[in-house]
Subunit: 157 residues, 2 copies
Amino acid sequence: MPEPKELMRLAIDVARQGMADGQTPFGCAIAVGDLVIATAHNTVLADINITAHAEINALRAACQALGNIHLSGTIVASTCEPCPMCAAALHWARVDHIYFGATVSDAATSGFNELRLSASELLNRGGSSVKLTGNVLSGECQDLFRQWHAQGDSRAY
Amino acid sequence: MPEPKELMRLAIDVARQGMADGQTPFGCAIAVGDLVIATAHNTVLADINITAHAEINALRAACQALGNIHLSGTIVASTCEPCPMCAAALHWARVDHIYFGATVSDAATSGFNELRLSASELLNRGGSSVKLTGNVLSGECQDLFRQWHAQGDSRAY
């Protein structure tokens, strides 16, 4: 299993690729054992699909890679704390452990129309057994928002 | 604008089409003005994609139909109360009003691994302005679960 920080570096890299392509600053990577099975950035604007967050895209790719709707034993790195849509999707997929960098509050500060509900509150209140750890390379992940604003095309939604 | 019950009948019809095709008993329809812009059933099993709930599929189709990630002014009928993933997706899409039939509790009783969080709790706690109304043709919507179990292929997940 890659270290969470290693996996997060892949999530940060793919988020940067997305930003270079005009997308918003979010990336996600999923691994099982030593194998990275999915990396994806947000494609909401490119696909004109409000559901195409990085985690949703990565989950779809990971299900395809394993040929299974359930991803037991996988770990997930997300540059930003999963929003309730993505946290619930990760619960449905039965991933083992979610690591994140920046917070929903950071994303809201950057202009995104976030529901004000943390991933831990969603998972705890909902009774999920998915494990969650924040503050993984959070400085680098927060930098993604600053770089995105500095690019001048800051279409938050 | 179609009446919520009319739109729910379309959601029930498309859920039945999904069940005839081996899918789980969930359907969703979205309208703006007099125009129905999307109907979709759950395709989690067919697509091997844990995120392919009826509402997620319908939102993607609706965004495509309008060429817009935001669906202001639309109404949504879902045969089952949206799970937190779908309720949050509907918030992101800025739909106007969600109507639902059966409840998350009904789905859990049918074997689905639901987070125990109602759509109203999610939207209220998160500070969403999306309106939500349950108990629309709820008997017919609950019947979908019974019909699905009676079919004998009841792969809840």
